[in-house]
């Protein structure tokens, strides 16, 4: 168990800078998830920590020592790859024990540690099989086994669940969380799936274009995002953004609805409202006319997808059967307290006092 610290780290390929002066602290024993759209540099960052990519600038410290130029083994990291990267010519037992064999441990020691790892992951019965004869979930377990057998300082996961089918992904997610509780090891996990990030992480790092947009617990990012990007990225269905104009302490939405805002604010703003804070009920103040296009029924809840008069798409969460059908026009109200304001550049406007309703 060790902490990982990145200080002003950057990565350049020729003249293209994919990561810029990035600072990040991964606390010892934490489960930190790097999340962001594809191409945001999250995998590159993970590979730099692993030692598979060189670091163009800045300092990487693992357990307090500079690790920029260390070999992956000397860094004490283990990595689980998206495609599992199991050696096809070796049995499961040899796959798991390979790193120990390379490290020069004697046969009995390797065997007992492989058994131990297999026991944790409940794959003892697969030890004599080749990877080709395993299912996707079993391969994933073997890949994880290969990492835990080394008892590394830091676990690195590069989108490990994205090759699994939906059901297996959910159950492996639970298992990974359980594994983290059991091992109490530092884990750095990359995914583009915000649900995975929300369910697994102690701390989420949202990245875009080689920069960190915001760092925080899942709750912080969900309820208190710093900008439009984080607000839109975290949460599913994503937050609704309505455009408005601020002047003299009021935001005028295009639909003729007004909202109170700090009196210093003026100019175009974006109003963010989460689907669960919108209610399909008319007849009250601030009601917006929405034409419903589609209804997604998920059992306990249902999502109504529609659009405003100006074609802005809107998603609304409804707990109970509202009897609303696709094609209908309804009035939608929202809770003033849960509205978030963003300025034209996308930055969150936090009012000192709660907005009076």
């Amino acid at each position: 168990m060790a902490q990982v610290e990145l200080k002003d780290v950057s990565k350049r390929y020729g003249s293209v800078e994919v990561i810029r002066d990035l600072n990040l602290m991964v606390e010892a024993g934490s489960f930190t998830v790097l999340v962001g759209p594809s191409g945001c540099g999250k995998s590159t960052l993970l590979r730099m920590v692993a030692g598979l990519e060189t670091i163009s600038g800045g300092i990487l410290e693992i357990a307090g020592t500079r690790a920029n130029d260390l070999d992956p083994v000397a860094r004490g990291v283990a990595m689980v790859f998206q495609n599992y990267a199991l050696y096809p010519h070796m049995t499961v037992a040899r796959n798991i024990g390979f790193a120990l064999k390379i490290a020069g441990l004697d046969k009995a020691e390797v065997e007992s540690r492989v058994r131990e790892a297999a026991d944790v992951l409940q794959i003892e019965h697969l030890l004599d099989r080749k990877p080709a004869n395993l299912s996707g979930g079993q391969r994933q377990r073997v890949a994880i086994g290969r990492a835990i057998v080394r008892d590394p300082q830091v676990f690195l996961f590069d989108e490990p669940l994205s090759n699994l089918d939906a059901e297996l992904r959910v159950s492996m997610r639970v298992e990974l969380a359980r594994l983290h509780q059991k091992l109490k090891a530092t884990m750095l996990y990359v995914t583009h799936d915000q649900t995975e990030a929300m369910t697994l992480a102690d701390k989420i790092v949202v990245m875009r274009d080689g920069r960190i947009e915001q760092t925080g617990t899942p709750e912080q990012l969900y309820s208190d995002p710093d900008n439009v990007f984080v607000a839109g990225f975290i949460g599913s269905p994503r937050m609704n953004f309505l455009s408005g104009e601020a002047s003299q302490g009021l935001v005028h939405l295009a639909q003729g609805v007004t909202l109170p805002c700090p009196s210093t604010l003026s100019g175009p703003v974006s109003v963010g409202i989460r689907p669960e804070h919108m209610t399909p009920r008319g007849g009250r103040a601030h009601s917006l006319p929405v034409t419903i296009d589609m209804i997604e029924y998920l059992g306990g809840t249902r999502y109504l997808y529609g659009r405003l008069a100006n074609e802005t798409p809107v998603a609304i969460e409804a707990r109970d059967n509202t009897g609303i059908r696709a094609g209908e026009q309804i009035d939608v109200t929202f809770d003033n307290h849960s509205v978030m304001l963003f300025d034209a550049s996308g930055k969150r406007i936090r009012s000192a006092a709660p907005i009076p309703s």
Binding site: D71, P72, V73, V77, F81, N83, F98, A132, G136, N163
Partner: protein, 273 residues
């Protein structure tokens, strides 16, 4: 769709197949008939007389067993050297970074366009100066050297599809370049290495020019065959014997290892494709 092929395909393919076998039947028949019968045409099976005379003559007059041994030694040495070193070279060029990597690769692959005939004179002078003439090394070294052009190319193009994650996983597991090669890459290169081996074996076995020029006392089978054909006698029967003896080994090799050509030649890192 049923698993059965339509009848007309079987007939056409069968006919073409038979046509292809005719020369082989002819050469076997020729080796087993007397000179008079051959003059009449080997296909007159009813009138022709059969004898093992040609086989006996060739076995007694020419050092067939010795040549077989020489050919086997040269071919095996050249084949094994290529099978061992070409994958190592391909791995080096594909995964390791070193100065002038691209230039070296281009030079090696360019030997592709170099006909064997071009190298024989400078090589002859070189071997004469170092005293390697009439030594099997004089043949084995150019055999291996010339094979790199296609062997390195063949293995390297196979490595293009080799999963990068396996190499990275090996690095994370603590392997240096050599261990990565021997423990992770090599065991998954069986089919291209087998392909190199078969091609190199056939090529070395069938080559006439280099052994004829550089070897005096050790005569390879192809050179022997050329000698049998070189006399003025109408000894078609003996030539047929020599041709069969020369061809039968590569045929066996091909039959034994043909599976390696067909076997799945992709390495997977375990993901669902």
């Amino acid at each position: 769709m049923t698993g059965r092929a339509p009848k007309w395909i079987i007939i056409v393919v069968g006919f073409v197949g038979c046509l292809w076998i005719v020369p082989i039947i002819g050469i076997v028949a020729t080796s087993l008939q007397t000179t008079d019968s051959i003059a009449r045409g080997w296909w007159h099976f009813g009138e022709n007389t059969f004898s093992l005379q040609a086989w006996r003559t060739v076995w007694q007059t020419y050092p067939l067993a010795g040549s077989l041994w020489v050919s086997a030694k040269i071919t095996l040495a050249a084949t094994i050297l290529t099978m061992v070193t070409a994958p190592a070279a391909a791995y080096t060029f594909h995964y390791l970074r070193f100065p002038l990597r691209r230039l070296w690769l281009i030079i090696i692959i360019n030997a592709f366009v170099l006909p064997q005939q071009v190298v024989i004179i400078p090589l002859f002078q070189l071997w004469r100066d170092v005293g390697l003439l009439d030594n099997m090394g004089a043949v084995i070294i150019p055999f291996v050297g010339l094979s790199y052009a296609w062997a390195v190319f063949l293995v390297k193009s196979f490595l293009e599809d080799f999963p990068k994650e396996l190499i990275e996983a090996a690095r994370i597991d603590g392997c240096g370049p050599i261990r990565t090669f021997t423990q992770v890459v090599l065991p998954n290169l069986i089919s291209p290495i087998a392909a190199c081996g078969i091609l190199q074996f056939l090529w070395c076995w069938n080559t006439l020019l280099l052994p004829m020029l550089f070897l005096r006392s050790d005569i390879s089978l192809t050179v022997l065959l050329a000698r049998i054909a070189g006399t003025y006698d109408p000894n078609l029967d003996q030539q047929a014997v020599a041709a069969i003896v020369t061809a039968v080994i590569p045929l066996c090799i091909f039959l034994l290892f043909q599976k390696q050509f067909a076997a799945g030649n992709r390495v997977s890192s375990g993901g669902k494709e």
